[in-house]
Symmetry: C2
Subunit: 110 residues, 2 copies
Amino acid sequence: MAQHKKEAFGPKEQNLATFAKAISHPARIAILSQLAKRNECICGELVDVLPLAQSTVSQHLKELKTAGLIDGTIDGPRSCYCINWKAFEKFYNDFSSLFTKLKEANAKCC
Amino acid sequence: MAQHKKEAFGPKEQNLATFAKAISHPARIAILSQLAKRNECICGELVDVLPLAQSTVSQHLKELKTAGLIDGTIDGPRSCYCINWKAFEKFYNDFSSLFTKLKEANAKCC
DNA sequence: TTGCTTAATCGTTTTTATACGATGAATATA
DNA sequence: TATATTCATCGTATAAAAACGATTAAGCAA
């Protein structure tokens, strides 16, 4: 009895939740920060910076890519990643509207 | 070999990740939306609205409360919840700065 | 071709999350 | 007092996440 019921919710909530999950691990936030800091495509330098094994970093990169937050291209034997800004902006806007909506509920209760 | 290494990252990344995880499930986003919509404290009406069992809803509420996003008070045999706007604003600001930082990395690569 | 580098994937283990029914504690109400 | 209501907690089961070593595949260099 643990089949997930995420499909039982609306697409808006599902999308936001999926995005939130993508950035719900410090390693993935660190990856995004690195990609932003270097302002360029990065491949395995992330492994040197992060306190994680190569396979684990690759796994996190895959999740970010699946979520659409980063793009990856093959550059010879390496992989080059960068932020997918378009997707990011979409999610940021969705988040902003959620927060705005919640802000309107700033009532005195409890 | 699966001990989590979240402590190996900075507090900023950890905080953001914790918040993101709190809203990484559609049920919890739905709960927050309901709390916002009703603009008042809500107890078990959530169970009627959500496609989940009572114990499951209670569990999600607990997680939101642990993350500090909602407050709960006991009202007789019921429990009354509302959004903790202060905590929410803090996290929203943290998120905004992350997004702003990433936006500056909007370079042409890949 | 052979060997090296790079990174994705596989297989496995441990931990955490999700979900539910059942139980229990507390407050109302009859 | 007895009973019903409300909700948190417990116990449990299953699924997913997190992490690593080992292997594999692909490109490059000698």
